[in-house]
Symmetry: C2
């Protein structure tokens, strides 16, 4: 039988990353393609203890229907923690719990985008956000992401248009590039927002993962223009992703509409895991746990950068990054998507740069994840990647460099 699907779903293709992740169930393949945190760092025992102590303390509230806005204690805790870290006054009624920060992308799309409205996105940008926005038929407008943050002049031009609804950006250790906005860029983005009266959707899953000994600013743009920013936080990278818990901080007028949209989307987020997380943060020091993650990721990133430089240093340029989960690099004279079949033959996968581009840019770039691998896998994966590159070069010899 033929089904009459909506125009919007007919126009959308499955996520390239998700499709590729299916490949990685083959245990032979070393995957640099994913975006998974290291499960060795999940606080199993602490979660187990928090769960048990919560079972002892509560009954009904663990399992009954709950409020759309989320667990009150958790919202209070998030508001206080964010206020302190970003030197800004946020109240609990500006906080909404979401079913993973991906849900915030969907809900913000729903409450802001009319078909053909413009949404500005960094180039390159996070695929999952683009997928979420596309469900509401916007015109997506790329704004170049320089190594110190988004191009201000381009952003200004796009935000000046009446059709533009919001700018979506990841100012800290961006996915895919690892780029972090300079302090100056943060201020200038805030100025553009205030001058244009437009809003930014500030996605910050990685801001908590700044490597020890580094000093990049991770000051939220929200704190610089609180009327103009919807801030999205995530527990997936600093706690566990399987709980599907994230949060939004926004002006109350926006929260009110997000709550209406969330009622229709899933009534409320899982109350059981909200209660476990709240018990955990009340009885443990989350920041100490995050320190473990950051220390581990910094070491792995450094190890992987060295492995890449050792084995294929003359072929690549790695973008510097001081946090997050990804290495972004340019591979000279390579179409990364054409390299993929060679890589798969060598039992290694990555994400070609063009997957993060709306305009088929970054074809000679690739994104490599370093968090969900051990050191041996990193070594072997890089060696495999080098073999793939050699085989590719045999079939596609480098032109004389210009």
């Amino acid at each position: 039988m033929d089904y009459q699907f909506s125009d919007v779903i007919n126009s959308i293709e499955p996520s390239f990353i998700r499709e590729m992740l299916k490949l990685t169930t083959n245990k032979e393949i070393i995957s640099f393609a994913g975006g998974l945190p290291d499960p060795q760092l999940f606080p199993y025992e602490d979660i187990k203890n928090a769960t048990n102590s919560m079972f002892a303390k509560h009954k009904e509230s663990l399992f009954q229907y709950s409020t759309t806005e989320g667990h009150q204690g958790l919202r209070d805790w998030i508001a206080a923690r964010f206020s302190k870290a970003h030197d800004v006054e946020v109240s609990a009624d500006q906080v909404m719990i979401v079913s993973g920060s991906q849900q915030a992308l969907d809900l913000v799309g729903k409450i802001f985008i009319n078909p053909q409205d413009t949404v500005a996105v960094e180039s390159p940008s996070y695929l999952g956000a683009i997928q979420a926005f596309k469900m509401y038929s916007p015109k997506l407008q790329e704004v170049h992401l320089a190594t110190d943050g988004v191009d201000i002049e381009q952003l200004q031009r796009v935000m000046a248009s009446e059709k533009t609804k919001f700018f979506y950006g990841i100012p800290n250790f961006q996915n895919p590039t690892g780029i972090t906005y300079s302090e100056d860029k943060r201020r200038r983005v805030a100025d553009v927002l205030k001058a244009s009266g437009k809003i930014m959707l500030e996605d910050d899953p990685y801001g908590g993962l700044r490597f020890p000994g580094t000093s990049d600013s991770t000051q939220s743009i929200y704190s610089l223009a609180p009327d103009n920013v919807i801030y999205m936080g995530s527990f997936s990278k600093i706690f566990v992703p399987g709980f599907r818990l994230g949060w939004v901080i926004a002006p109350t007028k926006i929260i009110t509409n997000l709550v209406i949209a969330k009622q229709a989307a899933d009534l409320h987020t899982n109350s059981f895991v909200q209660a476990i997380l709240y018990e955990y943060v009340k009885t443990h020091n989350l920041d100490e746990h995050i320190d473990l993650i950051k220390t581990d990721y910094a070491k792995k990133k450094q190890y992987m950068v060295e492995a890449i430089n050792t084995h294929m240093g003359d072929a690549i340029d790695i973008y510097p990054t001081n946090g997050g989960m990804f290495i972004w690099m340019k591979v000279h004279g390579v179409i990364a998507s054409d390299l993929m079949p060679y890589a798969i033959k060598q039992n290694v996968v990555f994400v070609p740069g063009e997957a993060f581009s709306l305009s088929k840019g970054y074809q000679d770039h690739m994104r490599l994840n370093f968090t969900n691998l051990d050191y041996d896998q990193i070594d072997q994966g890089v060696i495999n990647l080098k073999q793939a590159l050699l085989a590719y070069r045999q079939d596609n010899p480098l032109e004389a460099a210009s």
Copy 2:
């Protein structure tokens, strides 16, 4: 600051029920208005044991990112259970786990509704479904719900239109009416679907709650027209709602698009609670647990019907029902929404019938929930309601009956 929200969110009001539920945090008020299951019947100890045995058995898979389609074991189990109960062949790849069945309403809206498409709904119907569909700007068309199921001639007419995308119905112990489709009506609905080549979204949160000793058919319409039906199931009423777990059974072509939409909406459903539920169903007999719920609800419903008949029997007509969570009744010569202030003054709340109508129908009807109250509260609530009715009648005397 003024925000430029989307047209769709500007056109939507918050759920009347949800707003009213906020009143019920006042402990004095006896709420017949909610739709909450009885938390006394949640299997706390069994969930605790399942959780602990799962902690002992698994690690990474409990907390890591997971597949959009859902937990494989759980999908296998749901497919097998449904196939057996409904005498139809369903495979696991026709099953998708959702973050509460509310999410299925949103996702089905997303993948089927173009603006101005027609969606047929029972009259009266479930508010939350209407809220979800409205996000996609359909034209909603009411089809009268008779006491043996939806009006077939009307349904036929609506489904014959090219603009109609699907029919949304709750064939078992409907919310709000408690009405259950006769076997004949089920067959005729299936025939309409097949003849029109259209689909039905069959919402079945209450089908598992048929009271002991009754024999209404709860055969899914899916089993009668599997190419034409998207079936929605829920663990909220037969297990716990706080886990936000439901499922969809549909033709694989539809599942494929639901998965794409779900990727964009929340990546996947909480993997931790899926694992707990799977552990529970493998080590416990869910049907025995459901028997406890059904027995308890049947007694409470009977008790409440008797209390209503005793105290206000001459003023009301109760619709018969053999399952579910609601009593639907007509109150002679009353505008139920006008009765509300009198009821609140008497510390009791209910949902006026017109809240379930797109055309301000059922103004002299009300929905009463009986599952989340003890017997004393039922007694007291009915007495309060009678007092409210007496006070209302003083201000609004009954006209001589025609």
